[in-house]
């Protein structure tokens, strides 16, 4: 008896489901960042707003990377429904705290897919995920650095204005 499921698709249905979940997660990230860009813009934090617009674009790009991978491997990519995006924040700092939370949860879910791939010996998807593992290093670094600015600059006086200016300059370039 031929292995028909394998002939049609390189990835197992479990991995396919996890990857579709990740598609949704990246779409959610993109929408969250877009809401943050709007809040920052409305409150006068133009550099941060620009920073979140860029992040939203990147998350959309991540979403498409997963989406196309599922299709290329013979799976069924599902366009996700994204609802319940928080539009208002209590403070400038809260925006960055939630940005870091979101990145940590993305790192965890990618690790979870990786663990499942190891169990199934799906080396091909593991190799595909390597790019994302490296990307999360950068994403968490940037989110953590933004929060650090609140500590080193302080929010008093023109502090928030300074923090905003520096958020626009956050970069991660590690050769490792």
């Amino acid at each position: 008896m031929k292995d028909l499921l394998r002939i049609k698709s390189l990835i197992s249905s479990d991995i396919e489901a996890l990857l579709n979940q990740q598609v949704k997660k990246e779409a959610l990230s993109s929408s969250i960042y877009l809401a943050m860009a709007s809040w920052c813009n409305r409150n006068g934090y133009d550099f941060s707003s620009e920073y979140f617009f860029k992040q939203a674009d990147e998350e959309r790009h991540h979403q498409l990377k997963f989406y196309k991978y599922i299709l290329d491997m013979g799976g069924n990519a599902v366009s996700p429904e994204v609802t319940g995006i928080k539009q208002e924040f209590n403070s400038f700092r809260e925006v960055f705290e939630e940005a870091l939370d979101q990145e940590i949860s993305v790192t965890n879910s990618i690790k979870n897919i990786y663990a499942r791939c190891m169990k199934e010996q799906d080396f091909i998807t593991m190799e595909f995920l390597n790019w994302f593992l490296k990307e999360q290093r950068e994403e968490e670094y940037k989110a953590r650095r933004a929060l650090e600015l609140f500590e080193v600059i302080g929010e008093e006086g023109t502090g928030r204005w300074q923090i905003d200016k520096h958020v626009g300059q956050i970069k991660y370039d590690s050769e490792a």
């Binding site: 008896m1 031929k2 292995d3 028909l4 499921l5 394998r6 002939i7 049609k8 249905s13 069924n76």
Partner: protein, 119 residues
């Protein structure tokens, strides 16, 4: 394990008292003998059937005391077949599909092993 019919070579995948699933390698499809008919499913539609059946909340239906009939219509997009099933039949179909996918998974493992051993 190979059953020959008049027409093509079908392999038994899994069967229960109420139904059976056969695989046809030549046509790369499955035949589901259930609820009085034999229906042909290609790869995509077979996975859609599984998804539709697994999505039915059997427990909720059992506890549901409203007067509407316990009938579920399983309609699969871009597929010629449609099932109108009673609650008992849904349970039977689910059992049939679960067993089928375990056997397909087993077949996959065997193929995997055979291939890696021949290297």
């Amino acid at each position: 394990m190979i059953a020959t019919t008049e027409l093509t070579l079908w392999t038994d995948v899994f069967s229960t008292k109420t139904g059976a699933v056969y695989q046809c390698d030549a046509e790369r499809c499955w035949y589901v003998d259930f609820a009085g008919k034999v229906a042909r499913f290609d790869h995509r539609n077979f996975l859609k059937l599984r998804k539709a059946v697994y999505a039915i909340d059997i427990e909720e239906k059992l506890l549901n005391t409203t007067t509407d009939p316990d009938v579920e219509i399983i309609f699969i997009c871009a597929c010629d077949h449609c099932y109108v099933l009673s609650l008992a039949q849904i349970i039977n179909l689910k059992e049939l599909l679960e067993g089928t996918f375990v056997m397909l998974e087993l077949n996959h493992i065997i193929h995997d092993r055979l291939f890696s051993n021949s290297l």
